[in-house]
C-alpha cells in the first residue's frame, strides 16, 4: 500500500517571480525525477511543470519518505531557492485530495484559462517524462492514465472549451486596446514553441502587415514562419527586429531575460517612440519587468493576462459546473477502484495466514492423537477452517462495507495490516510522521 502526496504551486498561489525560480526545462525535469529517486529509493514521482504550475506528485510506502517538508526541501535545493521563499506559496495534498486535484488540473478546471486544452498535453508530457525516468509505477501509472482519460472526457462531454479565453485571444484583446488596425503593424515572435504558435495563430488572424519569427534555432523559426506566412529572421539581429516591431510575443526557454530595460531603452529613438506591446508568456520571463515602466511600452506577462481573464465575464458557468460534476464522479470511482485493488490482496493474506495457523494447530493435535482416522482428521480440519472463517467473517464484512468514498476503509485496512502483521514492510511509525491521512 502506498501513500499519495502532492506538493505544488500555481498561478493562484505564487507570483510569477516565484514560479519562474522553480521552473524546470524538459531535461531538468527528468534529472529532478532521477535525483528524487536516488535520494528516496522506491518512491514514484511525476513532475508537472507548465507556465502556470510546478507540481510534484509522489507515491511512497506508508511510513516511508519523502514527507511534504522533505519534498519542499528537495525542490528548493534542486533549484537553488531558499526554502523560506517558497514555503508560503506551496500547497500540500495527500491521498484522495491528490486524486481530486490531478483530475481537476487535467480537466483544465484549475487552469489560468479554464477550458484551455494544452494542459492535457502538458500532463501527458509530465507522465511520459516520469515513465522515461522510470519514476512512474503501480500507483502513479493508473492515476495519471485515469487523469488523462478524465481530462479527455471533460473536453468532449462538456462545452468547456467553447468560447474559451485562450492566452492568444486575451493577448489579441489587449492589443486591440492599443492598436486600431494591423495592416501597418509588425508582429515579432521570439521563440518557436507550442505556446508561441498558439499566440501567433491569434495574431495571424488579424492579418498584420509583417510577421517576423525569431528563434535561436533558425530551422524551427522557418517552420513556424512557413505555417503562418511570416518571415524567419536571425536571432542575432534581435535589436533591429525590436525597432521594427509593434507587437512582440516572447516565449523562449531562456533562463534569463533576453530583453532588458538597458537593451530596449536605446532603441526607443530609432523606433520613433511608437507604442509597443510585449506579451511575455515565457517562464522564466523573457522581458525584464523594468521594460514595462518605459513610456509607451505595454508589457503583459502570464500573471497580467490572468488578471484580464479574471476581469472578463465568461458565459460558461454551466459547462464548468458540468465539468466539475464529471471530475467529482470520476474521483469517487477511482478511489473505489483503488480501495478494491488494495483490499483484495490484504483479505487474501488475512485468510491465508489464519488458515495456515489453523492447519498448524490441527497438525499438532493430530500428532497427539495417533489413532485418529482419516475421516476424523478431515472433521478436525473442517472444524478449524470453519472457526477461522467465522472469526474473520465479521471483520472482513466490516472492511468490505466500509469500502465507500466517505467511509473509514483506508483506516481499517491500515489497522488490519498492522494488527495482523500483514504488511511485510511495515515498521513502527516514525516520530514526527506528519501526513494528513494519519
Amino acid at each position: 500500500m502506498k501513500r499519495l502526496l502532492l506538493l505544488g504551486l500555481n498561478h493562484s498561489t505564487a507570483p510569477l517571480d516565484v514560479r519562474e525560480r522553480l521552473a524546470f526545462s524538459a531535461p531538468q525535469r527528468i534529472g529532478a525525477l532521477v535525483a528524487l529517486r536516488e535520494k528516496f529509493p522506491g518512491v514514484e514521482a511525476v513532475l508537472i511543470n507548465t507556465c502556470n504550475r510546478v507540481e510534484l506528485y509522489a507515491a511512497r510506502a506508508v511510513h516511508g519518505h519523502p514527507r511534504h517538508d522533505e519534498m519542499i526541501a528537495f525542490l528548493a535545493d534542486l533549484r537553488g531557492v531558499p526554502v523560506a521563499d517558497i514555503t508560503n506559496h506551496v500547497y500540500q495534498k495527500s491521498e484522495k485530495d491528490v486524486v481530486a486535484h490531478l483530475f481537476t488540473v487535467a480537466s483544465s478546471l484549475d487552469s489560468m484559462v479554464i477550458g484551455e486544452t494544452q494542459i492535457l498535453g502538458q500532463v501527458r508530457d509530465a507522465y511520459d517524462a516520469a515513465r522515461e525516468a522510470g519514476a512512474a509505477g503501480g500507483s502513479l501509472n493508473p492515476l495519471f492514465q485515469k487523469a488523462l482519460a478524465v481530462g479527455k472526457q471533460v473536453m468532449s462531454e462538456t462545452k468547456i472549451t467553447e468560447g474559451r479565453l485562450s492566452v492568444g485571444s486575451v493577448a489579441v484583446d489587449c492589443a486591440g486596446k492599443i492598436f486600431d488596425r494591423y495592416h501597418d503593424k509588425t508582429v515579432l515572435c521570439i521563440g518557436a514553441g507550442k505556446m508561441a504558435a498558439l499566440v501567433l495563430q491569434a495574431f495571424h488572424a488579424l492579418k498584420p502587415g509583417r510577421l517576423l519569427i525569431c528563434n535561436r534555432d533558425p530551422a524551427k523559426a522557418e517552420l513556424l514562419a512557413k505555417r503562418f506566412g511570416g518571415v524567419a529572421v536571425p536571432y542575432e539581429n534581435l535589436a533591429d527586429h525590436l525597432i521594427a516591431a509593434d507587437v512582440v510575443v516572447t516565449s523562449t526557454g531562456s533562463q534569463h531575460p533576453i530583453i532588458t530595460r538597458q537593451t530596449f531603452e536605446p532603441l526607443r529613438r530609432a523606433r520613433r517612440y511608437r507604442p509597443i506591446f510585449f506579451i511575455d508568456i515565457a517562464l522564466p520571463r523573457d522581458v525584464e519587468a523594468g521594460v514595462g515602466e518605459i513610456e509607451n511600452v505595454y508589457l503583459y506577462n502570464l500573471d497580467d493576462l490572468q488578471q484580464v481573464v479574471a476581469a472578463t465575464h465568461t458565459q460558461r458557468g454551466g459547462s464548468i459546473e458540468h465539468a466539475r460534476k464529471i471530475v467529482d464522479e470520476q474521483v469517487d470511482r477511482y478511489l473505489s477502484w483503488t480501495r478494491v485493488r488494495e483490499l483484495g490482496p490484504t483479505i487474501d493474506k488475512l485468510y491465508q495466514r489464519h488458515h495456515e495457523l489453523a492447519r498448524e494447530e490441527v497438525d499438532r493435535i493430530v500428532n497427539k492423537l495417533p489413532g485418529i482416522s482419516p475421516i476424523g482428521r478431515q472433521h478436525l480440519e473442517e472444524l478449524a477452517r470453519r472457526i477461522v472463517n467465522k472469526l474473520l467473517h465479521d471483520p472482513v464484512k466490516m472492511l468490505r462495507e466500509s469500502d465507500s468514498p466517505h467511509a473509514l476503509g483506508q483506516t481499517y485496512l491500515h489497522a488490519m495490516e498492522k494488527l495482523f502483521q500483514l504488511d511485510e514492510n511495515a515498521k513502527p511509525p516514525d516520530e514526527g510522521e506528519d501526513d494528513a491521512a494519519h
Binding site: K177, I178, F179, D180, Y273, P275, G292, E295, N296, Y300
Partner: protein, 270 residues
C-alpha cells in the same frame, strides 16, 4: 438678456444632457443596447432643445447672426460640442467620449445661464463686421475642436494608465491609436481655426482701434503655443502618446480660461 422662459428651456436642455450622461454612465455596469439608444435619444433631444433655445434667443434679440452675445456664444459652443460628440460616437466606436465631453457641455450651459443673467453683454457693435464674425466663429470653432481633443486626450491618459496597471479597459475607450488620431486631428483643426481667429481678431482690433485686455492676448498666445507644441509631435516623436494627451488637456484648460476672460470683460471682446 435671456428671458426666464428661455432659462427654463436651458434647464430642460441641461436636464436632458444630464439624463443622457447618466444613462451612458450606467453602461459601465450594464452594457446594454437599450441604454445606449436611450442615452443617444436624450443627447439628440438635448441638441434639438438647445437649437430651439438658440433660435428663440436670436428671434428675441432680432438678430439671426450667431454668437452675438456671451449667452448665445456659450450655448452655441455647448451645442456644437454635443453635436460633435453625437457624430463621433456614431461614426467611431468611442462610447466613452460623452463621459468626458458632456460634463464640459453641461458646465458651459450652466455658465451661460448664470452669466446670461448676471454678466450678460452683447459683443461690441463697432466690430460687428465680417472680420469680427469670422473671428468669433473660428475662435469658438477652435474651442469645440480643442474640447474634443482634450476629451480624447483625457481618455487616452485614463486608458493608458489602466493598461499599464493591467486593469480592464472597456470597449467604450476604443484603442489608444484611435484616441491619439482623434486628438491630433482635433488639435490640427482647432489650431487652424484658432490661428485664423487670432489673425482676424488682430485685424478687427486694429480696424476698430479698440483696446484688447492683455490677459486675453496672453492666454490666447499661450493656448496657441501649447497646441503648436502638440502639433510638433510628428517631428519630435518623443512627445507622442501620453505627453500629447496631457498637453491637449492643458491647452483646453487655458482655452477655457481665455473664453472666461472674454466673457468676464464687458466690451473686451473683439
Amino acid at each position: 438678456m435671456p428671458t426666464t422662459a428661455q432659462l427654463i428651456l436651458l434647464i430642460v436642455v441641461v436636464a436632458l444632457f444630464i439624463a443622457g450622461g447618466m444613462l451612458s454612465f450606467a453602461r459601465l455596469k450594464w452594457d446594454r443596447r437599450d441604454l445606449r439608444i436611450a442615452s443617444r435619444i436624450c443627447l439628440g433631444a438635448g441638441i434639438i432643445a438647445a437649437g430651439a433655445l438658440l433660435a428663440w434667443h436670436a428671434a428675441s434679440r432680432r438678430n439671426w447672426v450667431p454668437i452675438g452675445d456671451n449667452f448665445d456664444a456659450l450655448v452655441w459652443l455647448a451645442t456644437l460640442l454635443a453635436m460633435f460628440t453625437l457624430y463621433v460616437q456614431r461614426h467611431r466606436t468611442l462610447g466613452a467620449l460623452d463621459w468626458f465631453v458632456m460634463p464640459i457641455v453641461i458646465a458651459l450651459l450652466i455658465i451661460a445661464g448664470v452669466f446670461g443673467r448676471t454678466e450678460y453683454h452683447e459683443y461690441h457693435p463697432a466690430v460687428g463686421n465680417t472680420w469680427a464674425w469670422v473671428h468669433r466663429v473660428t475662435s469658438y470653432g477652435g474651442a469645440v475642436a480643442f474640447a474634443i481633443a482634450a476629451a480624447s486626450g483625457a481618455m487616452y491618459v485614463v486608458a493608458s494608465r489602466k493598461l499599464r496597471h493591467k486593469q480592464a479597459v472597456g470597449p467604450q475607450y476604443g484603442s489608444l491609436e484611435r484616441l491619439e488620431h482623434l486628438t491630433m486631428t482635433s488639435v490640427t483643426l482647432g489650431f487652424a481655426l484658432l490661428t485664423i481667429g487670432m489673425i482676424t481678431g488682430g485685424v478687427t482690433m486694429f480696424a476698430a482701434g479698440s483696446h484688447t485686455p492683455p490677459a486675453k492676448i496672453v492666454l490666447a498666445a499661450l493656448v496657441w503655443l501649447v497646441y503648436a507644441v502638440v502639433l510638433h509631435a510628428p517631428l519630435n516623436p518623443s512627445l507622442r502618446g501620453r505627453r500629447v494627451a496631457v498637453l491637449s488637456v492643458v491647452g483646453f484648460v487655458l482655452m477655457l480660461g481665455t473664453v472666461v476672460a472674454v466673457l468676464l470683460m464687458p466690451g473686451g471682446t473683439s
